[in-house]
């Protein structure tokens, strides 16, 4: 069963320390950019709970990300609510409810059918926002104000400050990591991994497989909603593309390239892919072509993703021998 090796733990502490100190020398552009990357890393990590641990390949995960953005947009623009005390629970609640409904329908299927039904249901939500003028239609809409977080006159957090937003995203990413690590050590986490390995056997042991899957689906959707809330605060823009299958596919690529079934893999994937996309885009307008070659290369030569590469390097550094045992 999965557990963190010492090498992974060390790398994790170092990476977190690096991210915490990065604003000391990073320039404005990169502080903004890394904030965006951390939001996507959180989004990808939430999907990995389904893809990497439960073995549920969802191609509709962006729905829960996007619906949180629209929940914020709707409350701010239509109702004039800006308090994060309202916006955050509303965003998480909208995502959780959408995940409960879509999950309830989709977990009855598996394999390719699960991919298709999550895709179809998420596209329904996409068209809901895409086709209605009220929600800004295809163009989307600006979110008029950033969220506020204050107790009386005391401002706890200024969402307009790029530095505070950066640290909020980092805290959410680290918090989600810890939460998922705790979940994965629990009997629930063991059940998830067991279901991925052999669903029928789990039933025979007495596990209510559908229920475990649905809980995982709702947790993953809610965490995607947290990423969506941060995205709304960061970009102050809601567009239907955020819910679309293109976005779902993109986050799936982050998970697969980064390494499914590890919590740090999707984070690694988000950093490498988004930084490379940014770099390739400065080289040529045809940057997607280069990106495609990169994706194919990783899939062909690193079947366990970038996390697998990291593991190999770590076990080489440790000397041969104990090659098994890290996870």
């Amino acid at each position: 069963m999965p557990h963190l090796s010492r090498a992974a733990l060390t790398a994790l502490v170092l990476a977190t320390g690096f991210l915490a100190l990065f604003p000391l020398w990073g320039d404005t552009f990169y502080i903004r950019f890394v904030t965006k990357i951390m939001v996507y890393a959180l989004f990808a990590m939430s999907l990995d709970l389904l893809v990497g641990y439960a073995g549920l390949v969802s191609l509709g995960h962006a729905a829960f990300f996007g619906i949180a953005v629209y929940a914020v947009a709707g409350l701010v623009n239509k109702a004039g609510v800006t308090s994060a005390f309202v916006l955050l629970p509303a965003a998480l609640g909208a995502s959780a409810m959408a995940a409960a409904a879509i999950g309830w329908l989709s977990i009855r299927t598996s394999g390719v059918y699960f991919i298709m039904i999550t895709l179809a249901l998420a596209q329904m939500l996409f068209y809901f926002f895409n086709d209605q003028k009220y929600w800004g239609g295809t163009d989307g809409m600006n979110i008029d104000q950033r969220p506020t977080l204050a107790l009386g006159d005391l401002t706890l957090l200024n969402f307009g400050s790029r530095l505070q937003l950066y640290y909020l995203a980092l805290a959410c990413l680290a918090g989600a990591f810890v939460l998922l690590a705790v979940l994965l050590r629990s009997p629930f986490g063991h059940a998830l991994v067991g279901i991925r390995a052999n669903e029928g056997r789990m039933r025979a042991l007495g596990y209510d497989v559908q229920r475990v899957k649905l809980i995982a689906f709702v947790i993953a959707g809610t965490l995607a909603g947290l990423a969506g809330f941060l995205e709304a605060a960061r970009s102050t823009f809601a567009t239907p593309a955020l819910l679309g299958w293109h976005e779902s596919g993109h986050v799936l690529v982050l998970v697969i390239l980064g390494g499914m079934g590890t919590l740090y893999g999707p984070v690694l994937g988000a950093f490498v892919v988004l930084l490379l996309e940014d770099y390739f885009a400065t080289l040529t307008d045809r940057w997607l072509l280069i990106m495609g070659v990169f994706v194919i290369a990783v899939v062909m030569f690193l079947p366990d993703g970038l996390a697998g590469l990291f593991r190999r390097v770590a076990s080489l550094a440790r000397g041969r021998g104990r090659s098994a045992g890290d996870g």
């Binding site: 069963m1 050590r185 629930f188 063991h190 390995a197 056997r201 025979a204 007495g206």
Partner: protein, 249 residues
């Protein structure tokens, strides 16, 4: 039967036009070992799948400890105290022997815990260790299931079932593919288990069946041909013709 722990009445299962199990009525007495024998394709495994909830019957009823469990999903049947093992080894190959049993034992926690580390449930860990020890696998606890020998995997299969602490065991060919030495060890284990469990067992090894079973049901073509005490079955002419071969008995 008054003290039947598990009872079926007119149990049938059709796959399209094929009646895999047809009008089977059985009573499994509490604390007894009930063997089901018959040629390949007789519907024995289908019957076990109907009892365990892996398949829904097309017709008929199953009752367990007096309550109707017909059509219950497999996990509910398991939670009610009916454990099963598979003919084809069905363990978690990537997990160690202990992890396999721990996963089984955790299935018996009264509710699904999300935040408490699984390792902190002492009773569960103890149950997993007990099941391993019962199946003589304690020295292999840290070995990945995939690296265990075939016979050990079969024993692990039983250990996982036992880690859920069932009252009624559904065993689908527990001796399948085992060498004589391993086979003798498992027969010995089954005899010990028979002391405090009720068992329904499919088995082709007739020596083992006659050594363990209190009741034998012979199935042919999805139906019950005969059912009774081992001596009666051994003496039954029809059974001899259909299954044991003309020169038996």
């Amino acid at each position: 039967m008054a003290d039947a722990m598990l009872e079926t009445r007119g149990l049938s299962r059709r796959f399209g036009g094929l009646a895999a199990v047809q009008d089977v009525s059985l009573a499994v007495a509490r604390g007894k070992v009930h063997a089901i024998v018959g040629p390949n394709g007789a519907g024995k495994t289908t019957l076990i799948n109907l009892l365990s909830g892996d398949l829904r019957p097309s017709d008929g009823k199953v009752s367990y400890q007096g309550s109707d469990i017909t059509g219950w999903p497999a996990h509910r049947v398991a939670q009610a105290g009916i454990g099963r093992s598979y003919q084809k080894t069905n363990v978690f190959r990537e997990f160690t022997a202990l992890e396999n049993c721990a996963l089984a034992a955790e299935a018996r926690l009264p509710r699904l815990h999300l935040f408490r580390a699984a390792a902190t449930f002492r009773e569960t860990a103890a149950r997993a260790e007990r099941a391993l020890a019962l199946c003589s696998l304690e020295t292999r606890r840290e070995t990945r299931a995939a690296s265990l020998s075939y016979g050990e995997q079969r024993q692990l299969e039983l250990a996982m079932m036992l880690a859920t602490e069932p009252q009624l065991l559904l065993l689908d060919e527990p001796l399948a593919g085992m060498g004589p030495e391993e086979s003798a060890r498992v027969v010995d284990l089954l005899k010990r288990l028979a002391a405090d469990h009720t068992m329904v067992m499919i088995e082709h090894d007739m020596d083992a069946v006659f050594a363990i079973a209190d009741t034998i049901t012979v199935m042919v073509n999805g139906s019950v041909l005969a059912s009774g005490a081992p001596q009666a079955i051994r003496a039954n002419r029809e059974v001899q013709r259909a299954y044991l071969g003309e020169d038996a008995a």
